[in-house]
């Protein structure tokens, strides 16, 4: 009972810290006048016979009206009350977020945190992995790795990025078995370690492995510089609790970093560790003979701001002016020496709310990301499916 409580508290703490960390590089506080928002055209829902796309939003919801759970509770996600903003036509949103907060994780000496099997409203964990949409008679196995955005914070089980990729492949007549290895706060290296634990661990070998990185990796770079860390040799993980942040600070050899060097150090920290992780995962892919792709994800400060984002900036107490991190992200990616595919611009032309915090999106956002991933993966998936069938 005690252990259960501790685990529950740990998972609440873990999840609630992620949003704050994702926005750790963002500063500045100003208010702006409410914008006039022009919702963009969003896809209409398909028929009941095909995978369901998110309902379009014709209006922009209130940024301040809290969504209540079925029990009548107000849900806060990292101190941000879940409101109608970005959750229009998502009446389940409050219950979903409550389930995400309640979803238990266990401590792991090596991986830091592992989701525990559980069954909650819209959030189900089996064998330590978030449940995904499963087409019948899958022919290829696709494993997905990443942080909370891959895990699906903001989406129901069957609307997460892996689920949508599976749905899109199904529309093309290819049944894939997606496995969602995403875990909140995972940086790329950690996700790669998760891959090393998975291969040879009793599961059928994957045909394709997808990594979806960026937010936590750049956030870690910011965090390391903030802590005065100039040791580039050791790999580090994103601390996700107060205790871990204390430990992070206590176990860092602190150096004074001049203001003008901070950006360069942030880039170097993120790029070097990311590059090393990608190299390692390629080594594993070669040995276990599967294809591997790395994507560099979007987050709020890589998006071209739209008026639809203004309520979010107000919610986050942020001034969008000068927050543009696209250049830094591009430099980080370049410095990593990898050929990760940059999809950080996926929301640039979207005129409706997708983010409800600095990195997590609603189901529409997950759908758009998955569509972009699938564009890049389509030919691989088709080839792999053909090879498998033949």
């Amino acid at each position: 009972m005690k252990a259960h409580s501790v685990l529950r508290a740990s998972s609440l703490c873990l999840l609630s810290m992620i949003v704050a960390l994702a926005g750790c590089g963002i500063a500045g506080l100003t208010d702006r006048d409410p914008p006039s928002i022009q919702p963009a055209a969003r896809p209409e829902p398909d028929s009941d016979q095909v995978p369901q796309r998110p309902l379009p939003s014709r209006t922009v919801g209130s940024a301040t009206t809290p969504l209540l759970t079925e029990a009548g509770d107000e849900t806060a996600w990292s101190d941000l009350v879940i409101t109608e903003y970005s959750h229009e036509n998502e009446p389940w949103a409050a219950d979903l977020m409550l389930s995400l907060l309640r979803s238990p994780h266990r401590n792991d000496d090596i991986l830091q945190s592992v989701p525990m099997d559980s069954s909650l409203d819209y959030v189900n964990i089996v064998d330590g992995r978030r449940v995904s949409y499963q087409p019948t008679d899958p022919v290829i196995d696709v494993w997905f790795f990443g942080g909370s955005t891959m895990y699906g914070v903001g989406q129901r089980d069957h609307q997460t990025i892996p689920s949508v990729v599976a749905r899109l492949a199904e529309l093309d007549g290819i049944a894939i078995r997606p496995m969602n290895f995403g875990v909140s706060a995972d940086v790329n290296w950690q996700a790669t370690e998760r891959l090393t634990h998975a291969v040879g661990g009793g599961l059928p070998n994957p045909d394709l492995v997808i990594f979806y990185d960026g937010t936590n990796d750049t956030g870690l770079g910011v965090q390391r510089v903030k802590a005065g860390d100039v040791d580039f040799d050791w790999v580090r993980w994103l601390p996700v609790s107060e205790e871990q942040r204390d430990a992070f600070a206590a176990n860092t050899e602190v150096a004074a970093i001049a203001d003008e060097d901070r950006r360069a150090f942030e880039i170097r920290h993120a790029a070097e560790q990311y590059g090393r992780g990608v190299e390692l995962s390629r080594s594993i892919a070669a040995a276990w003979e599967f294809d591997i792709r790395h994507f560099w994800q979007p987050f709020l400060t890589t998006k071209v701001p739209s008026p639809a984002d203004d309520p979010l900036f107000r919610r986050l107490n942020m001034d969008p002016t000068g927050l543009d991190q696209r250049q830094q992200v591009r430099e980080t990616l370049q410095a990593s020496g990898t050929d990760a595919i940059d999809v950080s611009d996926v929301f640039d032309d979207v005129g409706v709310p997708v983010y409800f915090d600095s990195s997590h999106t609603n189901e529409f956002g997950a759908w758009l990301v998955a569509e972009r991933l699938y564009e890049h993966l389509e030919s691989d998936i088709q080839r792999l499916a053909t090879e498998k069938v033949n």
């Binding site: 005690k2 252990a3 000496d109 090596i110 634990h197 205790e243 204390d246 206590a250 176990n251 992780g277």
Partner: protein
Amino acid sequence: MVSVRAKRSSRLEALRAVVPVVLVQLAAAAWFFWREHLRLPILICILAGVAALTALLLPKLFLWVHHRLFALGAVAGAALARVFLGLAALFLVLPAWAWQRVGGGGAILGNRRQSGWQRARLNEPYHPGGTEPNAKPFTAGTSSRLVVAATVVLGALYLIAPSGLGLVRRLGDFKADSVEVAVVEEQTGPDRVSQEAPFINEDGVAIDGSGNVIEIVGLPVDGYAHEGEPFAPLLFREHKGVRSTPDPVLGSRLNDFAGTHLNIADGRRASYEQSLPSVAVVWFFGGSTMFGIGQRDEHTIPSVVARLAEEDGIRIQPVNFGVSGDNNWIATERFEQAITRDDLPRPNLVVFYDGTNEITGESFLVDIGAANSGAITRLTLSDEERLRRREEVQGRTSLSMEESAARAGSQYRRGVTLARAHGDWFDVPVLHFWQPVAVSRAPSASDDGLFDRIALSRQGAETSRAEYEMLFDHTDVGAIDISDAMDVSDEPIYFDWSHHNELGARLVGDAMYRHIRDRFGLDE
């Protein structure tokens, strides 16, 4: 994480330390209050409050001050003890003895014929002399109070002085921020029983009356297995001084250290260096046995291999990545971090040396009743970790010896496969060696002393040997078995379940080198 636990531990330690301080202060305040002093009790209470608050809010500061005051107090106490002893001998004991010798007697030293307190007669007071009803009842006069007080003080000082002196010796290297001794609290085998030692301080270091380290976290340091090794006490003192930093990925990483026999730079133990430039770099990974607990820098296994290669005209540069507590999986992760670094010269060969931490880790899992979940585990590094892991187990699972060996063997196999995959990718050959442990050695009379020390019967040793062999059988991944490397000698080698002297390192290095030399174009 570990650091946070250490922080909690600091707070607990501070609270444990402050409780007696506060209790004594409150008692003193009560006594002064009873003696109708008013201001003093208030002042003492304030001090007690400050001490308690400091211990609660600033535990490290409190411990820092506490340790130093305690140490200084011990020094002062020791000095006072000597003064008291001298004064007592000079002014009390000698005159009293002389007085008694010339025919006197009395209460102070007692009556030889009628010593002790006896009830003389009903309704009469107790008499020290016993049988003389008219004798003046014993009342504590000035001299007797002095004797009683001196006795109490001397007794107290006698009790605390050794601890105080030990702390004084530690003053120089006491660091409140340091978290873990690098010689981690490894479980050293399933049947390991710790030895009793005269004085064991907070770091688990046993120190004899002369200040020599004679045992360190369960590693006895005496003549046994250290014959002809006069450097052993200093070497183990340096082992004790090594610190490590908690690492969320690797468990721990070594801090730099500079000593006479033990040096660490950039997280790696120093090794023998040839005078000529090396032509091949060999990386060595493993736990404490690869790190070289029990050997000087230039006599660790990597150093021995380098020396043997040098004799064959092969100039290799050994790099010792061994860290106490690393099992194969963690060593593999250490390899992953190293091989992806741009600033390290790419190795020509990578060597892993495993076994003891695989079976030790598995023994712990069996002990706590952990189910076979397929999860990768590392060796627990502290009592706190072990306690946490024990508490996390939900429902005890009992595994047979075969199932247990299969679990540990499976993890080892996965680690080896992973390391080899990286070796292929980075174009570096990787070799895995299965190490010897005390019970894997062919029975030898020279080990009788060892088994006595670790309280392991011959039958228990046979059982452990069977477990170890079964585990190796289950690894089934082609690791090179050199667990019989010590069989060629009849000398004492091990000083505990797995750690050995420099002779042992020479034998292992020799066995290892015979498999390595062909990598450099020399056949066995």
